[in-house]
């Protein structure tokens, strides 16, 4: 009896966390999924009405803008961050004496809250007093840089701030990857007289494929969850010009009192995340068990 109890202790200690995850992750996803199929407005109603909320969602111009923005922002944010991160990693990999200092400088934005980042860039890109005013002060009277207040360009302003924040992190990932490539192979290639850029393009980069994938997953995940950055930088504006699914969901949930819409938009967001993450997680977990 005592021995049996002893064996149960680990399960008993793990149980509260497991139950919490079951309720607060899986149960809550179920609740949101259910609400997304009802006509709930300010308060939840539980009788099902099919996919009416999803129909409303896909018919809403604001949601349309939000999804377009997500793909535009996501594509640019991911591509530029990856390219810049890779470039920085390769540059830093050339026996730089001050590498530690530069690494610290490139990566520190990742420690900041996106609210801080957004606040800083909002000020820098302020048309009246920021970069625009500065360049005009240098004598270029016709210079304009008013992206944060231009509905067509504001989303690119969000991209700039996002890249500033996340590219150093991609650099750190790639740098670690570059350093983990077998030094013997590189030495052999150098002895054979293969030029440096060929060593990178033909030997080092192909062996880093898993790191490209990780960086992509992390950045995509950040892009889909981006909420703080938009709130701080543009507030979703001008108008709805920089709305993302996350800000749409928040607006429906907490200022419009339309929790049916909020729930259905959250479910679509989860669908997008899972379309990207699940294949990756699956392959990771499988690889570990083999």
């Amino acid at each position: 009896m005592r021995a049996w109890l002893e064996r149960q202790i680990p399960k008993m200690v793990l149980a509260p966390s497991f139950v919490a995850i079951l309720i607060f992750v899986y149960g809550f996803i179920g609740w949101t999924a259910w609400i997304s199929l009802t006509r709930s407005k300010l308060l939840p109603k539980y009788d099902l009405h099919g996919v009416i909320q999803y129909k409303r969602l896909f018919a809403a111009p604001r949601w349309d803008t939000a999804m377009d923005n997500l793909f535009l922002f996501g594509a640019l944010f991911i591509c530029i961050s990856m390219a810049l991160g890779l470039l920085l990693a390769i540059l830093l990999d050339q026996r730089i004496r001050v590498e530690g200092v530069l690494r610290t400088i490139y990566l520190y934005p990742m420690a900041l809250s996106m609210i801080v980042t957004g606040t800083a860039w909002k000020w820098i890109m302020n048309p009246g007093l920021g970069i625009e005013a500065m360049v005009r002060g240098w004598g270029f009277e016709n210079f304009t840089f008013n992206w944060v207040i231009d509905p067509d360009m504001a989303i690119y302003a969000v991209v700039i701030a996002g890249v500033w924040q996340a590219s150093g992190f991609v650099m750190a990932l790639f740098l670690a990857g570059l350093r983990s490539v077998d030094g013997e192979i590189i030495k052999a290639a150098q002895i054979d007289g293969i030029p440096g850029w060929r060593i990178y393009s033909a030997i080092i980069l192909p062996s880093m494929a898993p790191i490209f994938l990780s960086a992509f997953i992390v950045l995509a995940h950040l892009a889909i969850k981006s909420f703080d950055l938009v709130v701080a930088l543009t507030g979703g504006g001008p108008g709805y010009a920089t709305d993302l699914p996350a800000t749409y969901m928040y607006a429906m949930a907490f200022s419009r009192g339309d929790i049916g819409q909020a729930a259905s938009s959250a479910m679509v967001m989860m669908g997008v995340v899972f379309a990207i993450v699940v294949p990756y997680l699956y392959s990771e977990l499988r690889a570990k068990h083999v």
């Binding site: 680990p10 793990l14 992750v25 920085l88 809250s113 000020w123 959250a266 997680l281």
Partner: protein, 298 residues
Amino acid sequence: MSDFSATPAVSPPVRPGQIALRWLLFSLLGLFALFYLMPLFVMLTTSLKSLEEIRSGSLVALPREVTFDAWRTAWSEACTGIQCEGLRPYFWNSVLLAVPAVLISTFLGAANGYIIAQWNFRGANLIFSAMLFGCFIPFQVVLLPMARMLGLMGLAGTIPGLIFAHVIYGIGFTTLFFRNFYVTIPGDLVKAAKVDGAGFFRIFWSIFLPLSLPIIVVTVIWQFTQIWNDFLFGVSFSQAGTQPVTVALNNIVNSTTGVKEYNVDMAAAIIAGLPTLLVYVVAGKYFIRGLTAGSVKG
């Protein structure tokens, strides 16, 4: 993974052409360093200028007259809405919120990771996968039910409510960190300790926890950064008076009453970012390790 110390790949320059390349390399690296430092520089100089100087001078100019008025205002007078007490009360809210949430979630992660890695029973891996999965959900999908749940528990709009939310949604990551650390410890250690008569808790306290300092540091830094920088939970689950510093900062910047005080905004932004920045400068190595472990393996 986070070890940068291996030998660099490419050999040092010898020919004159390569010296030119070297210069190009350094100017590029320098330009990028300027790009990353510029916002911090602008924030700092703007926060030390007076409003007149901001209006008349250039964005990147150093302050002609250094004044700390904006910092004083940001800390104790700036309006976050109808209240004008500055960032100070909200800064303490964030401290009161982050410290317990970090400690509890780290401790739970250590216990869970220890069990999953070392006391393998049937279903343990399934439980681990279920927890891992929870790390990836966009929090929007639990926002509505969590707000209702906190209401039912009588924790709506309170700091304990926020702590609760951060602990629950932090368990996945902390468990992942500790589990990945503990699987590298040979299972024979537990077996030997059991033969010597040590039980489940004894082995955890006397053998595993003393070994865990590096992963505890990584986990604490990761959780602290996440929780301090959080905005979504803060804005959704708090009310006037219990808001964390990120929410208060956003309110100060977007408050529409009176003259727009850019120097105060910048001082407030630096204050809000200072704790995590400090952690990064002091323990950058562990910060990077958490980032790479949390993202590559999670």
